[in-house]
Symmetry: C2
Subunit: 152 residues, 2 copies
DNA sequence: GTCGAATCTCAAGTGGACTTGAGGTCAAGG
DNA sequence: CCTTGACCTCAAGTCCACTTGAGATTCGAC
């Protein structure tokens, strides 16, 4: 049994629950990085697990990999990120979550009145036109919901 | 100016805020339907706007077009859907919204403690492993978040 | 030395929801 | 009559986040 402080892609995959192909893909996108053995195999530092935790959390909050990469890019190069570094990154999601929750609650409450009135009319119905204020210009409709809830 | 109770695809597009191509696509999937003029052009009933409102609302709640189509398929054929019909459909989303809100709130609260402890460790951190209980078998991680919030 | 498991690269495929483009038809106004 | 714009079909392309497959190499246990 090979014993280092570095992880193979298989080990990283097991510990993170992410497929090796996904990990290679993340590396390609710069979300994580690796050194290589003389024969070309990837070796990951343990800290990669933390980055992956961050990636997963970000995905769960509805961020794209690009956005997550941007966030990770603000981490210090060279030194190992501190607890404060991670806290800073995570805090930006807290507000994102608050936003999403608020949007959904508005949607739900509007749906309540919608059910009451039975309207479901385009433009006026808050459900199909959340956070209202549309009805003016182009009327893309759901333009106000956080992208995470629009998916597609 | 052509004046009927039927809408052209252009009019439907304008009133719904959806692209003509999207409307054709929806028709192809059976979400909406049209009659044709002798020359083969689509004519939509006004009620189509209501269906589209429902479609948009469903998308906003994170349903796939397939799911929305399934819901719409439960509407009565032949007669115009009544208020009660729409109410019944909408009510199923109310619970979906409640679920999503609950999931996000759990996520947010867990994130709070995460920031506190600075852990962000895979498996144990509720943020990357929401609604916990994972850590056992395969550990796909975010397997418990409503699909709508996983997107991808 | 030999075998199987793990890894590598690179190209191509997947799925959802559409959009875009090519090439053609039709309706209304001047 | 002619043009313009709306419309038609059908095939193919786009974006995102990956997965799958082919073909080659390497590691480690026996």
């Amino acid at each position: 049994m090979r014993t280092t402080d570095l992880l193979t892609i298989g080990e990283l995959s097991q510990r993170s629950g992410m497929a090796p192909s996904a990990l290679r893909y993340y590396e390609e996108l710069g979300l994580i990085s690796s050194t290589r053995t003389p024969s070309g195999r990837r070796r990951f530092e343990r800290g990669t697990l933390r980055r992956l935790a961050f990636v997963r959390a970000g995905r769960n909050v509805g961020l794209t990999l690009e956005e997550i990469a941007a966030a990770l890019a603000t981490l210090p190069e060279g030194r190992t990120p501190t607890r404060a570094d991670w806290t800073r990154l995570s805090r930006t999601w807290r507000s994102r979550l608050d936003e999403q929750i608020a949007a959904l609650q508005a949607l739900r409450d509007d749906l309540g009145s919608c059910i009451g009135c039975g309207c479901l009319s385009l433009r006026r119905c808050a459900l199909s036109n959340p956070s209202d204020s549309a009805g003016g210009a182009g009327a893309t409709g759901a333009a106000y919901l956080p992208t995470a809830l629009r998916r597609g």
